[in-house]
Subunit: 315 residues, 4 copies
C-alpha cells in the first residue's frame, strides 16, 4: 500500500498490541520513573521477532516524558540524568576508560534534522587533551577520550556517511560509537516527546535524510549505541494512516450502514489500491514537522548532550 | 470541515476553475515568457470577488517556472530578471528616487520559514551610505535608499511583527515596503516553483509562523509589495484534501457501485464531520515540506534578492 | 596621538591609579565575593569626573572572575547569580511588575560581536504570552513582560540602531531597556573575564561595530541598563600601547642611559607624532580577539542570559 | 625575537627584496592581467630556497586584486575565472576525469576562519550522483567526481584534522585534494585582497587555528592543491613589526640625532630582547582582523567556490 515508517521500536510493537497479538521473540517491559517519565524496554530476541518488528535484534530503550516539549530546565536535567543512567547500562562506562566517537548524523541546515549535529556542538570533547597532556589533564576519575564528528549528508559531501565514519574509525580506533540522529515517528503525538536508545545502531532509511547503509556493529566492527528523538513523520505515513482510519471509520460507523457493508465487501487489496492511487508520488520526498521545531531541537539537543556528558563525566 | 489554506491567489482561483465557475470581479490573464516560465495576473477588482477568493482586492502576479528547483545559475538569473520586471510594474522605480524598506518576515531558525530573512542577507543596502555621503556616493543613476529589517517572530521577540515594523516606519519614513515571506500552498506540486508578487501586502495567517495582523497599506499607511514563495503545505490541508479525494473517488469509481451510492446519500455535512473527526487536532501546528528544503531556500532567497537588486540598481 | 579606547570604566579609572592620582567626583569600591570573584563599583558623580573618565555620570559595576573563560558549568551558575543580584540593585524588579525590552546589540555574523544577539537567543520571552493569556499564564509570582530585539548593524539594515529601537519603544512602551553588547577593552588580559553592568546605557563608539548614537535615558526617555563583556581590543590601542611602553622602557632602562636621556628630551608632542606616524591607517578598522572566541562567546552569552532570567524569574 | 608569521610565499619573498637580496633557488615571475589583477608565481626550486623562505619546495601562485574587497559581482566573476585558469595549470582537469576531494579547513564558528567551510557550502558536489546514475547523469563533457568534507577543528572533534582526512581518503580514494583555508598574512594591507594557490599543500601553523600536521602529498599520498586567502594577521606579528619600525625610525630620524646614535649602539640582540619583553605572552593566542570580516568572508568564499566550479564544470 504505502510504506508506514517508524524508527521507534515502541511504535512497531504497538501495531501488534492494537490487534491484541503477542509477538514471539519480543519482550516488552515498562517502568514509571520520577518526573512522570516512562521507560520502556523492548528486547528483540530472535530473528523471527526481528522480521515481525521490521527492526534488527537487540535492545531498544524508550524514555517518554510528556512535558519534554516544555522549557523547564530542571525537568530537562532529570531527563538527562535518566538518559545517562540508560547509557551506563548499555556501555561499561564505570568499568574502564573508553575511547568514544560521538557521531552527529543528519543535516544541520534542515531544522528537524539538525538534532545530531547540535548535540555534538555541546559535547565535552577530551580526546585531544588527554592524548596531549596525559590522563591527569582534567583531574577526573575517569579519563574517557571523547571525540566527535558531524559527517554531513550525501548531498553536501558526495560520500556515503558510512564511508566517512569508517575512515575516521580506521585512523582513530575508538571503542564505541554513540550515533545521535533525528528519527521519524508514525504518530505526530510522539514528536519531540520520546528518546530512543538502542544498541542496534542506525538502520537504513532512518532519520530525515537518507543514510542508506546501516551504521552498526556489523558494518563498523565496534558497538554502535544510537540515540534518537522523533522530530518528523513521513508525509506518506501521515496521509496514508489518516485514509486507512477513514476507511475503517466508514466500515464501523453505524451512520453509514449500507456504506460500511459495501466497503467491507472490498477486498483488502482493493482498499490498498484505492489509497495508493490517491497518494501523490512527490509526498515521498516530504515530511511533517511542528512549526516550533526550532525550539524543540535547540532544547532537546542540549538535553541529550548533557545526558551523555553526565554519563561519562559525573560531577 | 477543515481550513484549506493557500496563500496563492492562483490556487484560490483554481478552486473555481475545477467547478467551471466564473468568479465575478476577478480577472485572470496568463502569458508565457522566455525560459518556459508562465506569468499569471489575477486581479481582484471588487469586494465580492475578494470575498469569493478569500483574499483582499488588488493585483497578484504569479511567476511559475517548472525548473525553479534546479540549480542552473543562468536560469535563475532569468527568473530574477522577470521578477525585476514585475516589480517595476508595481513600483515607480524608474520615475523617482525612492526610499524602500525590505522586510524579511519569518523565522530564520526554521528552514522553510527562513526565506524572508535570507533574502535580506543578500540585499544591497544603500540608505545609510546615501544619507552620509550624498547621492553621488555610488555613482548610480538612481539613488534609491534601500534599508532592511528582519523583525523575527513573536516567540522570539514577544512583540507583534507589525508593532516592530510600524515603529521602524515612524522613525525612518520610507516610501514603500517590500515584504518577503515564505508562503503556504495548497498543493505540494507548487512548492519552491512559484513566486507570487502582490500589492496587497501580507494577510493574517500567511507564512509558516503567525503574523496575525495584516501588513498592508491600510495598517501602515504606505504601499506594501509582498513577494512570496510557497515552501510548505499545512498538514491539515494535505491530509484533509487527500481524504476528500478519497471520498470523491469512492463516489465516482465504478468498482464500488454500491459504495458510491451509499456515500452519495450522505449529507455533505456528514462527510465533513467524518473527515474532521479523523483529523488529529495537533495537525494544526504542523506543516509539510520537502526534505531538500535547505537547498531550495538557499537558492531561491538568492534569486529573489537578485531580482530586487536588479529592479533598483540595473547594471 | 591615537585614540585609546576602553568601554570599561574600571580601565578608565586605572589610568589614574597608575599615576597615583585621585579623580574628584569618582568613587571606587571593591568587594570580593564567593567564587574568587571581584565586584568593583565605580560611581561617577560629577560632570568633572565624567570628563576626566571620558564616560557619562552614573554607576558602573564590574564583575571580574578569573576563571570566567573556563567551561565549569556550576561556576558559570554562580556568575549568573551575581549578575542577577547586581541587576536587582539597578532595577526595582521585586517591587513591581515591569515591561522590559532586551536589546541584543552587535553583529551576529562577526564572532566577538555576536554576544548581544546570542544572549537574546536564550532569553525567556513572556510579553506576548502575558498579553494574550493574562498574568496567571505562567503561574509565576512576578509577571514581568520581557520582549527582545536584535536590531542588526547599520551595514545590514541601512538604519541607525537607535532609529530602530526608538521606533519599537514608541509602539511597545516598555519601562526599561536592558542592552547587551560586546565591548572593547584596553588590555587583552580582561577579554572574556569581566562583565560590566551600568545604568548609563551605551555610549557612542562602544562595541565592535559602530552604534554612533548613544542609547541612554536621554536619547530614549526610559532607563537603559547596559550589560557588556569585553571581547576585543582595538588594533590601534594594542599597537599604540605597546609602542608607548617601548618608549617608556627606553626612558627608564638603565641599560640605555644615553638613549633614555635623549628620549626624555623629546617633547611629549614629538613622541606622540612619532608613534602616530607608525600606526598604519587601516588599523582603525581592525580589532584583536582570541582564537577561541567562539567558545567564549557561546559560554558567556549563556551566562548573561541565565543571569537576566534569574533576576526576573527566580526559581 | 618574536615569530613573524606569514602563510604567503609572496610576503616571505618580500623580506629579501627589502634587503635587495637574491634568494638562490627561488624564482619569481609577475604578470599583470585583465581587471587590474597581478599574478605572481614564486617557484621554490631547491631545499636551500625552501630553508631561506621557510616554506616547502613547490609552486606558489598569488592572485592580487586591489578591489577584491569590493562587492562588484562582475569583477568577482573575473577573479573566479583567473582562479579557474590557475587551477587548470596545476591539475590536469581537461585531460582526464578526476575524483577530487575538496576540504574546507578551519572553524566555521570563528568568522575569519570560516572561509574553508563556506567555500564547501557552495561547491557543486557530483560524486554520489555519478556513482549512482553513471557518467551521463549530468550531461557534461567531463564527469569529474567532486566530493567534500568540513573536518572541523581539534577543539570540536578531539581529532587531528589529518586523521579525519586520511580516514576519508582510505575509504573514497580520490585523485586530488583541494584544501581551502584562511591564511595569516604579515601585513594588514593584504587581508582579503590576495588568493594564494599552491601545490605544496597546507603547512603546520597555517590558518587561524592549529592544524599541526602538514596536509600534503607526503602525508596523504596524493597531490594536495591548497587555496587560501589571508584573513588575519597574528597579533604578535603586528605588534612586533610596529615596534621594529619604531626602533628603525628612531635610528633614522634626523629629529632624534642623539637618540638615534644611542640606539644604534645597542646590540641587535638587546633590541630584540627589549621588544620581546614588551610583548604580552597572551598575544600568542590572539589575531587581528577587519571589523567587516563577515562581508569579506561571505563574498570571497563565493568567489573561490565559483572558481573551482568553473575549473571543473565550464559552462
Amino acid at each position: 500500500m504505502y510504506q508506514v515508517r517508524t524508527d521507534l521500536a515502541l511504535e512497531a510493537r504497538e501495531k501488534f498490541e492494537d490487534d491484541h497479538v503477542e509477538v514471539k521473540g519480543v519482550i516488552v517491559k515498562q517502568e514509571h520513573v520520577k518526573g512522570n517519565m516512562t521507560v520502556t524496554k523492548v528486547v528483540i530476541e530472535t530473528e523471527n521477532g526481528a522480521k515481525a518488528m521490521g527492526k534488527p535484534k537487540g535492545n531498544y530503550v524508550t524514555l517518554e516524558a510528556p512535558d519534554m516539549a516544555d522549557s523547564d530546565e530542571d525537568y530537562h536535567r532529570e531527563i538527562s540524568m535518566q538518559l545517562a543512567k540508560i547509557l551506563k547500562e548499555l556501555i561499561p562506562i564505570e568499568k574502564k576508560e573508553l575511547s568514544v566517537l560521538v557521531v552527529g548524523l543528519g543535516n544541520r541546515e534542515v531544522t528537524p534534522d539538525a538534532l545530531g549535529p547540535r548535540v555534538v556542538d555541546n559535547m565535552m570533547i577530551t580526546r585531544h587533551i588527554i592524548r596531549q597532556f596525559g590522563k591527569y589533564a582534567f583531574g577526573l576519575k575517569n579519563n574517557h577520550q571523547i571525540s566527535s564528528i558531524v559527517p554531513g549528508v550525501m548531498a553536501q559531501t558526495g560520500m556515503e556517511t558510512l564511508e566517512i565514519i569508517k575512515g575516521v574509525l580506521e585512523e582513530t580506533t575508538p571503542d564505541y560509537i554513540i550515533a545521535v540522529d533525528a528519527l521519524a515517528a508514525r504518530s505526530t503525538k510522539r514528536l519531540n516527546r520520546t528518546i530512543q536508545i538502542t544498541d542496534t545502531g542506525i538502520s537504513p532509511g532512518s532519520g530525515v535524510g537518507n543514510h542508506r547503509h546501516a551504521l552498526n556493529r556489523e558494518s563498523v566492527g565496534i558497538p554502535v549505541i544510537a540515540i534518537g528523538i522523533p522530530t518528523v513523520v513521513d508525509a506518506v505515513t501521515i496521509v496514508g494512516d489518516t485514509m486507512s482510519n477513514l476507511v475503517s471509520a466508514m466500515e464501523e460507523t453505524r451512520r453509514l450502514e449500507g456504506l460500511g457493508h459495501s466497503i467491507s465487501q472490498l477486498e483488502e487489496a482493493e482498499k490498498h489500491e484505492l489509497i495508493r492511487e490517491l497518494l501523490s508520488p512527490n509526498l515521498n520526498a516530504m515530511f511533517v514537522t511542528p512549526k516550533d521545531i526550532d525550539e524543540s531541537v535547540k532544547r532537546l539537543s542540549y538535553t541529550i548532550s548533557e545526558g551523555i556528558n553526565m554519563a561519562f563525566f559525573p560531577a
